[in-house]
Symmetry: C2
Subunit: 299 residues, 2 copies
C-alpha cells in the first residue's frame, strides 16, 4: 500500500478563517485530537501579525505547550510569512515551518505587502536560516491554480514562480488551491511542471473544497506523485474570498476516498468523524465534510 | 472538445426523494428550466406505484404535457421497473425508458420484490417490447458499487450481472452508485469490465454525492469512456439509505469541473445555478451543490 500523509491544518488554516476564536486550551485539545486521529504531521498555528489574524494571537503559547518536535513522533509545523515570524516560531521549539509565496503579484501585494519577486527573496532568506538552524522549510505556492484578484494564473507565470522555488531548494513544495478553483487536469499539469523542475522534491497539495473539486483534486494529486495532502477536520475554515463557502477539504472525506482506493494514511475514519464533530461544535458551524453525516462504508 | 451529455434527473430521482411534493405545473417548469440550462436529455418522471412513490403520482400528466420526443430536440425519458410501468410510459408518448436491475439480491427483493435474476427477466421483456415499439431502453445496474443491505458487491457478482445486461442488448448501460459509496478506482474497474463485456454499448453513470466522491467519480467515468452522466440541479434528492445526506451529484458542480477540464456539456453554468436555486427554493431545502454558493471561475 502506498503511504500518503495527511497534514492536519485545522489548527492553522481552519481556525484562522472562522469567526469564533478557540481558547488556547481548546486549540491544544484540537491538536491532540488530530494526533489521536492518527495524523503524524500537524500545522499547529501561524506566526503572523495578531492584528491581521487575531484568531491565532496565542501562536507562541500553543507552540510552546507542545512536545518538542520528534519526541512524540509528530511533526508540528507552523506557518510563517517573514523572518520575524520564522524567529518567533523557532523560539518556541518549532522545527518545521511552511512559508508562502503567492503566484500572482496582486494577491502578493494585498496579502504580504510586496511583489511575488520580493516574497521569493523573503522565502530564500528563511530557507537559508532554516539550513543554519536545522529547521525544515516547506514552501507553498499560494494561488497556484487561480487568483482572487487577477483570475487565471497563466501557466508560464506559474512555471516561473515554481522554477524560482525549485532553485532555492525547499525541503518540500506545496501547491495551494487557495480559492478552490482547480480541477484535476490543472492539478496534473502543474504538478507535472513542478516535478520536471524539481525531480526529487517532496510534493504536497493544499486544497479547498469551495467548488466541490477537493476530493477529485486529491485523487489527481496522489496519482501525480504527491504524497502529502493538507486537510482540515470537518472541512472547517471557509474561504476568505468566497463568503459562505466551505473550507479546506475535510480530513474525513479524504480518508474515506484514499483508504477505499487502497492508499494508507494511518488515520482512523471513525476518530476523524468524531473530532470533526467536536471542532465544528466548538466553533458553532456545520460540518462541511460529508462523511460525518453518513459514516463510512461498509459499516 | 469531447462532448459529454448530462442527463438531468432532478424531475425523477431528485423529486422522488424529497419530502415536499411539487405540483404538476412546477414539475413541468423544472423540466423547462432543465431544458433552458441546455440539457438535451431529461429524465422527467418514473412510472412506478404511486403508493410507493407518491411524489411522482402524476407521472402520466407530466409526460403527456411534454412535446413529443424528438420534436424539440430533447430526449425525455422515464424510469420504469416493470412491464406495466413501461406500458403506462409509452402510452403517454415517452420514447425512451430507463429500467433497473439491482446488483444484489437483498436490495432487489426489498426494492422490486424479486431476485436479481428475476429482475433481469423483466428487463429482458421490456427490452423486447422496446424493440417492437421503437422505444429506446437503457438499463441501469443499481448498487453497482455497494449495497445498503449486503455491503460490498463483489466484483464477480457485478461481472455476472453486467454480463447478463450486456447479453440482452440494452441501448445504453448505466452503472449507478445508488448509495454513494464509490471511489474513482471502483468506477474505473467496473466500467472497464462493462466495456470488455460490451465494447460498443454507450455507457452512463448515475452518481450520488453522499460521501463527497461525486465529482471525482464523474471525472474517472469520463476518462473511462463514459459519455453520459446523470445529475440533479442543486444536488436535490437525498439518499434514501442515508438520512440527511446530499442527493445526486449537482448538475452545476459537474458543469464547472467538466468545462474547466475541456469537456463540452452544452449546459450553461449560470443558468444551472439559477435553476438550482429555484428548485431548492420550491422544495424548501438547502442547495447541496457548491457552485451555487460561490459561482464559477473566472467570473
Amino acid at each position: 500500500m502506498t503511504r500518503v500523509e495527511i497534514v492536519e491544518v485545522s489548527p492553522r488554516d481552519g481556525l484562522q478563517n472562522e469567526r469564533t476564536t478557540l481558547s488556547t486550551a481548546d486549540k491544544l485539545e484540537l491538536v491532540d485530537r488530530a494526533r489521536r486521529t492518527g495524523a503524524r504531521r500537524i500545522e499547529v498555528t501561524s506566526f503572523v501579525r495578531p492584528d491581521r489574524v487575531p484568531q491565532l494571537a496565542d501562536a507562541a503559547e500553543v507552540a510552546t505547550a507542545l512536545p518538542a518536535n520528534g519526541t512524540d513522533g509528530i511533526g508540528y509545523s507552523a506557518l510563517v510569512l517573514n523572518v520575524r515570524g520564522y524567529e518567533r516560531a523557532v523560539a518556541t521549539g518549532i522545527r518545521e515551518v511552511t512559508t508562502v509565496v503567492l503566484a500572482s503579484d496582486t494577491f502578493s501585494e494585498r496579502n504580504q505587502g510586496m511583489s511575488t519577486l520580493d516574497a521569493l527573496d523573503v522565502v530564500r532568506e528563511i530557507r537559508g536560516r532554516g539550513r543554519v538552524d536545522g529547521v525544515k522549510v516547506a514552501v507553498t505556492i499560494g494561488a497556484s491554480f487561480g487568483c482572487p484578484f487577477e483570475g487565471e494564473v497563466p501557466e508560464d507565470r506559474f512555471t516561473s514562480v515554481a522554477a524560482a522555488v525549485a532553485d532555492l531548494g525547499a525541503d518540500e513544495v506545496c501547491l495551494a488551491d487557495t480559492i478552490g478553483v482547480a480541477v484535476p487536469s490543472d492539478v496534473e499539469t502543474r504538478f507535472g511542471i513542478l516535478r520536471e523542475l524539481s525531480p526529487d522534491v517532496p510534493m504536497r497539495i493544499h486544497l479547498h473544497d469551495t467548488r466541490n473539486t477537493g476530493v477529485a483534486n486529491a485523487v489527481a494529486a496522489v496519482r501525480s506523485g504527491v504524497r502529502a495532502l493538507d486537510a482540515s477536520l470537518g472541512g472547517i475554515g471557509g474561504c476568505p474570498f468566497a463568503p459562505g463557502a466551505s473550507g479546506n477539504v475535510a480530513t474525513e472525506d479524504l480518508v474515506y476516498t484514499l483508504h477505499r482506493m487502497g492508499y494508507d494514511t494511518g488515520l482512523d475514519l471513525g476518530e476523524a468523524i468524531a473530532h470533526a464533530e467536536w471542532v465544528t461544535g466548538k466553533l458553532g458551524v456545520p460540518v462541511s465534510g460529508r462523511l460525518a453525516k453518513v459514516g463510512g462504508f461498509p459499516r
